[in-house]
């Protein structure tokens, strides 16, 4: 293992990856993955950006006390933490249910061809 060839050349060229890429199974996996991760990432980044802009430019709004000394800014900050946890768990359950079975199926079809045993 000491002499490491560049990673791209490690897989045996016996699999026709272009054919796999075009296959409906793979296309389904790819679009499922993208349809989840792109919108969710963008939504999270926008929500974060909105928070940062509020903190920067809406000082008085963020300083409004809600109860005791706890103000809107602090609650929104904690809400960022909560949504991060929530999105994490949402993605995990999505990936376990909707992505993993598809990718396991494809892997099972392809692995014998690449000569890799598990």
């Amino acid at each position: 293992m000491g002499n490491d060839a560049p990673s791209a050349e490690t897989t045996e060229p016996t699999v026709d990856f272009r054919a796999v890429q075009q296959s409906p199974e793979f296309q389904r996996l790819r679009s499922r993955h993208r349809r989840f991760v792109f919108p969710v990432t963008i939504a999270c980044l926008l929500w974060y950006l909105a928070y940062v802009l509020l903190a920067g430019y809406a000082h008085d709004f963020m300083s409004t006390p809600v109860f005791g000394s706890i103000n809107i800014g602090l609650l929104l900050g904690l809400a960022q933490i909560v949504t991060t946890f929530a999105v994490t768990m949402w993605y995990v359950s999505f990936a376990n249910r909707r992505l993993d079975p598809l990718s396991a199926e494809l892997r099972a079809e392809l692995e014998p061809a690449t000569g890799v045993t598990r």
Partner: protein, 534 residues
């Protein structure tokens, strides 16, 4: 302020040293035991890909919760209030980018380094060199921040205020780090990070409960106390640091961008995904990391306001070590010399674990990307790559020691934010484009990486961080033509733009076979590197 005026160091320096010494002794034994099986490159760089998601997640938390997170953020909240909290939010939300877009795909397509993924379907040589350079630069900035943290901590804990004494201690920290990485490789480093993560989160947790208990377990009461000590409610509102002018507001936006986009492009974080056997374990690691890191940042909020309430911003700012000393001072206030000793040992352990992770990443990148792949063109003698990596560790260790002695006194959270900005500019566009954009070409990658790297560094050089004011690195000089202290808002979009421009102007199309292979492998895990058997 009394206890600070009577002695330069609260607590007992020898007690602090003894507790830290015990930590070093225990971890060294573990590192020795863990490293007996280090034979191949996969062992040395990727710990044989044998860690579980939970272990790796804890190690990621140990790697990520650096001195910047602990000392820096607690200090920033204690002194600048709400604006310090904003660091935590950015550092945490950033993990969603890593979870959703990068971690699993990277684990499936790479072997040891970030450059493995970036050069997968592009021309090896130019892309690998560029990725190795950006890796080394980001690691260097991050190392500098950690070493600066070590210097500040030392001045507070050991009562060593003269430069020579601090330099000696930084040298000891650097030498220990070299020892860990040299002997333990990734496996030893990972164990040090796991132990440190557990200690750090437990220590912060104990202090958090303690601070809350003093305030009747009521956050509102704690905040009131902080306001009373500070003498102004501004500490609870945004803007204390970044609200003073339009420029500083823009600076804040720039910082926020760098934080949220930087994490998924930090080479030492990315490399951790190779230490698990499958993409699914990589996903689990990130989930563990997000929970641990998120909970820790809630602790830092309490600790920061706790320090503001119980000690006061003025006292902290005047203490040796400045803002970075807020957490240790709070520990002393709560539990006297023993808690101070424990918390300081944890903070040292934190620095040690993070610098070890950075060092092995930089060494792997040099040995694997530059030596084995570019200089030897993938035909290096068996074993010589790891030998080169070990030598690089020593060189990087020495550079870090010298840099650390030089960078003493800057706020560590702030220095780390610069490393994030460079990572987000130089690495993130190429990572995302090469994973998700079919048409992306070598020219796009090279333009984006060098463009992002150079623009970020040039903007930092001409920023108020380096010159033009009292707190700058070069005090006498005056060439701060760029008004923002964080370059992210300019350099990150620029790097994305250059990646697109370079690609559309490139008439050489990349191999569609390689693109197909990368895409199929990234999503299915076919042909991904397996765990090594021992």
């Amino acid at each position: 302020m009394l206890h600070l005026e009577t002695s330069a160091s609260p607590g007992e320096p020898w007690l602090n040293i003894a507790i830290f010494g015990a930590f070093v002794a225990i971890t060294l034994i573990i590192v020795f035991r863990a490293s007996r099986n280090n034979k191949t490159a996969a062992d040395y760089y990727a710990a044989g890909r044998s860690f579980t998601g939970g272990q790796n997640g804890s190690a990621i938390a140990g790697d990520y919760l650096s001195a910047a997170s602990f000392l820096g953020i607690v200090g920033a909240i204690a002194i600048t209030g709400y604006d310090g909290f904003l660091y935590s939010i950015g550092f945490l939300v950033a993990w969603l980018v890593a979870l959703l877009l990068v971690a699993e795909l990277l684990r499936n397509t790479g072997r040891y380094t970030m450059a493995d993924v970036l050069s997968f379907r592009l021309k090896q040589r130019p892309v690998r060199i560029a990725a190795a350079i950006t890796t080394l630069v980001v690691c260097f900035f991050y190392l500098l921040a950690q070493m600066a943290g070590a210097g500040g901590l030392v001045s507070l804990l050991l009562g060593i205020s003269d430069g020579v004494g601090q330099a000696v201690v930084i040298t000891v920290v650097g030498a220990l780090m070299i020892l860990y990485v040299l002997i333990g490789g990734m496996k030893g480093t990972t164990w040090v990070q796991i132990i440190k993560a557990v200690l750090l989160i437990a220590g912060a947790g104990v202090m958090t409960v303690w601070v809350l208990a003093l305030h009747g377990f009521n956050l509102s009461t704690l905040l009131e106390h902080a306001v009373a000590t500070a003498g102004t409610p501004a500490i609870l509102e945004p803007g204390l640091k970044y609200g003073v002018s339009e420029i500083s507001k823009l600076d804040f936006l720039s910082l926020g961008l760098a934080l949220v986009l930087g994490t998924a492009a930090l080479p030492h974080v990315l490399m951790r995904f190779y230490t698990v056997p499958t993409a699914k374990e990589a996903r689990k690691s990130v989930v563990w990391a997000i929970w641990l890191i998120g909970i820790f940042y809630v602790f830092t909020l309490v600790l920061g306001y706790g320090a503001a309430a119980l000690i006061g911003a003025d006292v902290i700012a005047a203490a040796p070590g400045g803002a970075n000393s807020a957490a240790p001072l709070l520990a002393f206030e709560l539990g006297g010399p023993i808690l101070l000793g424990l918390i300081s040992a944890i903070a040292f352990a934190t620095i040690l674990a993070v610098v070890a992770g950075l060092t092995i990443t930089a060494a792997a990148s040099f040995a694997h990307d530059i030596y084995a792949s570019v200089i030897k063109k993938g035909k290096a003698e068996p074993g010589s790559e790891v030998k080169v990596a070990r030598r690089t560790v020593v060189v990087i260790g020495i550079v870090a020691i010298i840099g650390g002695i030089g960078a003493n006194g800057q706020n560590v959270a702030f220095l780390v934010a610069l490393a994030f900005a460079i990572a987000a500019s130089a690495n993130l566009p190429t990572i995302l484009y090469s994973l998700f954009w079919k048409r992306f070409t070598t020219r796009g990658a090279v333009w984006s990486m060098y463009g992002g790297l150079i623009s970020a560094i040039v903007l930092i050089i001409f920023s108020p961080v380096v010159s033009g004011n009292e707190t700058a690195m070069i005090k006498g000089a005056d060439f701060d033509v760029f008004p923002l202290s964080n370059p992210g808002i300019v350099s990150i979009p620029l790097a994305f733009f250059l990646g697109w421009l370079g690609t559309v102007l490139d008439k050489n199309l990349e191999s569609p076979e390689k693109q197909a292979e990368m895409e199929v492998r990234s999503l299915t895990g076919v042909g991904a590197e397996k765990a090594t058997e021992h």
